[in-house]
Symmetry: C2
Subunit: 319 residues, 2 copies
């Protein structure tokens, strides 16, 4: 992977935001958030990562300092006059249902980034959930990406389907949640929906099912990652972006990318996301260490193992 030394192997384009979140377990206003931020904090556990995004003059230096302290390259993060993108959401006790209270695009509305020259040879690219035309515009600027993954949302599936499908056809990995997969294909069965997506070009599709785990479909195989058995979920905001960050961060640290690496990437994505939801906003992610990730990854691997030594333990008494 020929790239200028000092340039991060992984690039994310997405929102950098100030989030206001209310959950039954706590609430906070104008927290550091946005898809590119969750992604970068997760990915930086594995490799250095660059962010392409935009913030306003109200964005705090302490937020920039936090990202830099994690090895995040901010050359591609523009700071322009105006207010930072803001999002507000509210969760009830069923954390699967959330209500968006407001979305203020602000400086994001006019965002059309030209990549810094040294970013154009980045091998791993993640196209966060933004206008598919903008996703394509960024992808066009990369000279020879090795793995390109992308995300989207209902808003673009419904409003810009043609542009979206054109980007989708150029992806190595498309990430969707279950409702997006159904909406994109009109197919209620998730396996058939995923196969239909594969037929449109991506080499793999990852379906994030939140508290039900994640499924990856390749042309020749299927991998299933269970949900990590969490006893407390505080704030699911950013879980999908965190998953993507763990997934791409792990891959960007691999010498080759085959099915084995993709499976482990899904597992690492799930593990990092399982930490992220344990506290409000990016709090848990900001304090997370690679050691903690590896510890939970080990437990994770044990959760689905079928070939334990037979009869090693007898938890059920034979009265």
């Amino acid at each position: 992977m020929d790239r200028p030394s000092g340039c991060a192997p992984l690039l994310v384009i997405g929102s950098v935001a100030l989030d206001s979140v209310s959950t039954p377990f706590g609430e906070a206003t104008d927290m550091l958030g946005g898809s590119a931020v969750y992604f970068a904090l997760a990915a930086s556990l594995f490799v250095p990562v660059s962010i392409v995004g935009v913030v306003g003059t109200d964005f705090r230096d302490s937020h920039l300092a936090l990202l830099r302290s994690k090895g995040v390259d901010l050359q591609g993060l523009q700071r322009v006059p105006g207010l930072t993108f803001r999002w507000g959401g509210k969760y009830g006790y069923d954390l699967n249902q959330r209500e968006t209270l407001f979305t203020e695009l602000n400086v994001f509305e006019q965002f059309k980034p030209t990549l810094p020259e040294c970013y154009r040879d980045t091998p791993f690219l993640f196209l966060g959930n933004i206008d598919p035309d903008l996703q394509g515009f960024v992808l066009d600027q990369l000279r020879a990406p090795v793995i390109v993954a992308g995300d989207t949302m209902n808003f673009w599936i419904e409003g810009k389907r043609e542009s979206l499908m054109s980007v989708v056809s150029r992806l190595d990995v498309l990430m969707l949640n279950d409702s997006e997969a159904r909406l994109l294909t009109g197919e209620p069965n998730l396996v058939r929906a995923a196969r239909q997506v594969l037929s449109r070009g991506p080499k793999s599709v990852v379906i994030k099912k939140g508290e039900h785990g994640a499924m990856m479909l390749l042309p020749e195989g299927c991998f299933f990652a269970p949900p990590f058995p969490l006893e407390l979920v505080v704030d699911p905001t950013g879980a999908g972006d965190t998953f993507a960050g763990g997934f791409m961060g792990y891959l960007a640290g691999c010498d080759v990318v085959g099915e084995a690496e993709l499976r482990r990437a899904v597992m690492y994505g799930s593990v990092v996301a399982s930490f992220s939801v344990e506290d409000l906003g990016v709090r848990r992610l900001a304090a997370l260490t690679r050691e903690e990730v590896e510890g939970r990854a080990m437990e994770f691997g044990k959760m689905t193992i079928l070939d334990l030594p037979r009869g090693r333990e007898i938890p059920l008494e034979t009265t």
Copy 2:
């Protein structure tokens, strides 16, 4: 396991019914059904199984003949004057939502079985979803059961909680679906709900999550079985009972029961249930072979494996 030779190692008590089911993919009236029937057909793929239940004079000989042809012992199946238990249900395209059209208890209403003497030494017992007082009454008649598993439903959780908890405390394995687990404990988080159930006596709890797989919690561990990636689900009726039948059938064929066996039992339960839902009623189960089960079990095992040889395949081109 001292038992009279010729007596099945596994006993199920539950409903034997005539089901009328309507789905977007087909419908049928007065089909062979009931929890004990789905259970027995699934379990008989592994070991001989005995049914304790009751039918009316309208129950067809061909149904009895089908069960006998699968090695099901019917000494404990009473045939009494009156009509057989009938259930009618309807599914829409979202097969997770079903509408019960009618439930006619008929001969089941007065059912209070005294077990045939040779059943009283059966080592493996499954208490299907019936009145918990009746579950206790049957359990009392077994001299020295090795593994007792049980099922229940919202109706008993809401209406006979005290009786139910008394039976639950005597179980080795309690099987619940996710909504039952939440209702029983008042705890929305499934992991905490499962732990709370464990504290009430059962040595393990299996939470069936339908299209999202199954989770087993032991005091010292957690196992997760993914859903089998089905492209067509025709009729989910009896899937939970089929799961239980595959689970207990597999265990009843093991020499010892430890965590390894319990994990495999969850896997076999999931596999057999994945076949059952592919056709109306018990059609698919009635034709299912052990070879087919083992074939899908093999695929099932591959779905969660993390330690594929690294870089063996490169499905994603490195351009």
